[in-house]
């Protein structure tokens, strides 16, 4: 299986690449959209300001490749702002569109009750039969570092939810072959590696099923 880690200038890819490696995915890190075009699985990391991340992503030429990959329901993993990019937009950069694969807008944590950024290890609770979370105990801790979130709403989505102060947000999501986490699996020690291995298993199963 060919996994491509998308390098569009979004920071620390080194750790993501090493963790994917440790999880058995042996990724190719590439800044060339052509390399990603026929990948079996794409991994889209992201950190920093939503507007700047979108600008880098657009400038990199990866946007149409990722859109086509998602439209064809091929294995995909978004991490941190890589999850937020799947939404329609963010309060962090009003008017800047995301990929729109999921409905909704990314919001900022309310200040006052809790420290912002939400920084550190928080518990992730499975929502539905979440494929990424099958090998970790319910309420396992994962590492977060973010100021914006996608609100959790009861509905059809499977994945994970996490509560910070008064806010319960979507900390993981899976729809078909598309997966994403708000936390950093590459920074979440054994729990994180178990989640990356689960992604690899899902991606391989998807590849076999689609011949």
């Amino acid at each position: 299986m060919r996994t491509v880690l998308i390098d569009y200038g979004a920071g620390n890819l080194h750790s993501v690449a090493k963790a994917l490696d440790a999880a058995g995915l042996a990724p190719v890190t590439s800044a060339d959209p052509e390399v990603a075009r026929d990948a079996d699985a794409l991994v889209l990391p992201g950190q920093g300001h939503f507007g700047q991340v979108v600008a880098s992503f657009e400038a990199s030429g990866f946007a149409p490749v990722v859109q086509a990959h998602l439209a064809a329901d091929r294995p995909f993993l978004g991490i941190c702002v890589g999850l937020q990019l799947l939404m329609e937009g963010s309060e962090e950069a009003p008017g800047v569109p995301g990929l729109g694969a999921l409905a909704g807008t990314v919001r900022r944590f309310p200040e006052g009750d809790v420290s912002v950024p939400h920084m550190g290890w928080n518990t992730v609770h499975a929502v539905g039969d979440a494929p990424l979370l099958r090998d970790v105990p319910d309420g396992a801790h994962a590492y977060f570092a973010h100021s914006y979130y996608v609100a959790f709403e009861e509905g059809d989505l499977v994945g994970g939810r996490t509560t910070y102060g008064p806010t319960t947000f979507l900390s993981a999501v899976s729809r078909g072959a598309m997966h994403a986490t708000q936390f950093h699996p590459e920074k979440s020690q054994r729990v994180g590696l178990a989640i990356l291995r689960a992604f690899g298993r899902e991606a391989r199963a998807h590849r076999e099923a689609s011949g």
């Binding site: 920071g11 620390n12 080194h14 750790s15 090493k18 963790a19 440790a22 950190q47 920093g48 300001h49 700047q52 200040e111 006052g112 809790v114 420290s115 912002v116 950024p117 939400h118 920084m119 550190g120 290890w121 928080n122 518990t123 970790v136 105990p137 396992a140 801790h141 590492y143 570092a145 973010h146 100021s147 509560t163 910070y164 950093h184 590459e186 920074k187 979440s188 020690q189 054994r190 729990v191 994180g192 590696l193 178990a194």
Partner: protein, 264 residues
Amino acid sequence: MLAKRIIPCLDVHDGRVTRGQQFGRAEEGGLRDVGDPVEMAVRYDAQGADELVFYDITATAEGRASILDVATRVAERCFMPLTIGGGVRTLEDVTALFRAGADKVSINSGAVADETLIRRAAEHYGAQAVVLSIDAKRRPEGGWEVHTAGGRTATGLDVVAWAERGQALGAGEIVLNSIDADGMTTGYDLDATRAVARAVDLPVVASGGAGHADHMRAVLQYGEADAALAAGIFHRGETTVPEVKRALADAGLPVRLDELGTAA
């Protein structure tokens, strides 16, 4: 629930971890070698440390090259958050540390010299990646004063006001090091930590003075810190990360304990 973090701190001098920072000791030849930074990082990772902080305490060209090498080698073996600081003065310094594998970069004297460094780093890498590290010394008349250059230079800045300024500039976390408490193993400066934690909406990491787990409990509860950093008590083997966390859990604090066997 968000867990309180326990963070071993490794002061790196010429590629080796030395004993706790103990302001001023580097010049007196008082450094003591306590181990290889990568081996120690791997050990703390296996213990389930929540994060690791590395400071380059040489802050010379050689020290810089050596801390970048340490960052890269640790990031290859430890899948956990890494904060790196020491002698960070320019955006190029910040970029080099992120490229080497840092998740957060800690800025101290460099921010006092040029406060726009915090803003520029945050605009570039996001607030969550920028830590303002403050060395605080108690004033005889009350309050605390910011010191730089490893505690040698008094700046006239008030610690609480500087922390608030750091938040306004875009820092995503404050590490508060007490110069008075550092290396004393008699407990953190609870009042300084609480004053800063109440003044800012950012996570606050308490540093300096840990002698045992109950000091950590006190600074996480009374001091209202989000995380407790310690060096000597871990490096000397007086306690371990799991021991500290069990004590904190017994005291009713939310901590991250063994999941899937973090203690290898």
